[in-house]
Symmetry: C2
Subunit: 359 residues, 2 copies
């Protein structure tokens, strides 16, 4: 019996690091859950139909290893070919594959700060150094970004950015992609809520990967589906890295159904944008400072500049938002856009808490 | 427009390597598909029921990030605790996580040869050196395995082995786990078809990971579900490495249903074992040399010792088996055990091809 002693054979850096902590997934029925940017609306009717039509006998067989039927559907949608598309087990999978393909102990990764904290965690898990590029005071891109990128091999950039919600000008993105000597992954998890996107870069810049997910705009966070668009040679290399059967048969089947149901999708996105503008007006009225958002969330600093207190007070009232305890983010909370009803309830609570600041 | 030129920013070793080639997934209705060790029987009735009961609205939310309800079910089944279990997106995910946790450019991986060719591919993808340990003539473990393991940090061992189908004595496994100074992953993908397994090692050896999959004995290759059992500290470290939401809501839900349906499962496994013994007798009768199998497949050398010809002749007759063109395996084909009907059809074709050798 040796179980009392434990000798670690883990890589030393893994033993020493903290893991990534995703937003809480609590199971409290009355909770208004606005912490992980899920979509408040159900998936599209086509997904309901496709699920009802699944033949469970088919599950005994392996799925299509490269998700070709889904890739064809995505290619059609973007005017690309199957060779421009990789299908993944959520965009977590896309990001992990990318980091493992394009970084190493001698090929550093560049990340913006503040941005999605999963990026530096993935770098650490893979043993790759991280070069942080601090955003300007308004969370815009610093002017010397190309200088700062020098010596790195992979730039992970969320556009629109998370948790701040703002976007970066397309011309700036074009300039970076044209002049950076490395791979740029543009994480467009929130692009469906934005004014524009960079999907067309795929045909213009061989060093660009555009990543998308079904977890936000498609109301399918539970399904685990993401995809990336890139040059065929980039896709071919990433295909080597992915698990052989990384996307389940059920996920492939329902992803196709979701892609074909465009009307419902557009309608949901419109409703979320409207609720976002409604909440924005309410927050400004209460004296919040709010970053201009092109996403399904608002990054907002309460009048007292105490993000943590705001998080705690809301939590005590069964409203869950996200708080990031870092120097640049601690004045803010990140609020996912829920239904109009949820937005109204949230606003009522905030008015109670911060009503004295009302203009 | 730069798309005609492509500068690779991939890690050099990724650019230079071949990817892993999984068995063909053809979509030909009349094909008898015996090449990827899928289960010929449908998933259990509980899975049908659970699928019919899924609430598609739930898909808008992220799944339980650590698959706790499934882990609890698995822990109960093995008399372990939740902390002893990690849930994965198929055992491909388990293997990839393990390789990334316990190997590096300076922490080599040991693999048996012949064994599952995904192991050295994963090592190459992660930039870890591989130490091959050649099996004896009868595909048994060499006597000096512990000596050969020296200097390696992770031993990936399929028990029963694939593609050979034989197992290794438990006492030998105990001796390896007790004396190896590194992590042992025992890949029990086929253990449900075997006479014994090593699941109990988890409470006895802190340096052991036991990996299981639902793709073979549970008839759920399309679902993508695998899990591993290990010491709580091992599981905690592997949890850092896995994607935050690596198992979809649908997969978690159906995996629980599959675990609860034990009677159907036992019945399927019994039927496959019987079909295996039936095919074994038929192959021996035709003069095939067959490795003693504890799996749902037979590794069999035709009388003329030409595995490739056997593969081709069967393929021409709409029967798909697997052929591995390596020195130690080229005399053989690997035949997944199908239904009794499929086994009878296969045998009839083989009798036609090799009947002259009949004893």
């Amino acid at each position: 019996m040796k179980s009392d002693s434990y000798t670690s054979y883990f890589r030393k850096d893994i033993d020493e690091m903290e893991g990534y902590a995703p937003g809480e997934q609590l199971n409290i029925p009355e909770l208004i859950k606005l912490n992980t940017n899920e979509n408040p609306f159900p998936p599209c009717p086509g997904v309901f139909q496709a699920l009802a039509n699944v033949d469970p006998e088919r599950l005994r067989l392996y799925p299509n290893p490269t998700s070709d039927p889904v890739r064809d559907e995505i290619a059609k949608m973007f005017g690309l070919t199957r060779d421009n598309v990789i299908a993944c087990n959520g965009s977590d999978d896309t990001l992990s594959i990318t980091v493992r393909c394009f970084s190493s102990a001698t090929l550093p990764i560049a990340c913006l700060r503040p941005s999605y904290t999963l990026y530096p965690t993935l770098a650490a898990l893979h043993g790759a150094p991280v070069k942080y590029i601090d955003l300007a005071d308004d969370f815009g891109m610093p002017d010397d970004v190309l200088d700062q990128l020098k010596g790195t091999n992979l730039f992970l950039i969320a556009r629109p950015n998370a948790p701040t919600g703002n976007s970066f000008p397309r011309e700036l993105m074009e300039n970076i992609c044209a002049n950076y000597r490395g791979m740029v992954l543009i994480d467009e998890a929130y692009a469906d809520f934005a004014a524009d996107n960079c999907a067309d870069f795929v045909n213009r810049f061989p060093n660009v990967i555009v990543s998308r997910t079904f977890s936000k705009s498609r109301s399918l966070a539970g399904l685990r589906f993401g995809f990336a668009l890139a040059h065929p040679r980039t896709i071919a290399g990433m295909m080597k890295m992915k698990d052989s059967y990384n996307v389940s048969y059920l996920t492939q089947t329902l992803a196709i159904a979701a892609l074909r149901d465009t009307e419902y999708f557009t309608d949901c996105v419109d409703k979320i944008r409207m609720a976002r503008e409604m909440l924005l007006a309410g927050l400004l009225d209460l004296g919040f400072e709010v970053v201009p958002s092109e996403t399904n969330f608002l990054f907002a600093a309460p009048p007292d500049g105490d993000g943590e207190r705001c998080f705690r007070e809301l939590r005590a009232r069964n409203i869950l938002v996200r708080y990031f305890p870092y120097p640049r983010t601690k004045r803010y909370v990140r609020i996912s856009i829920g239904t109009s009803n949820q937005v109204v309830k949230l606003w009522a609570v905030l008015a109670e808490l911060y009503g004295d600041n009302r203009k």
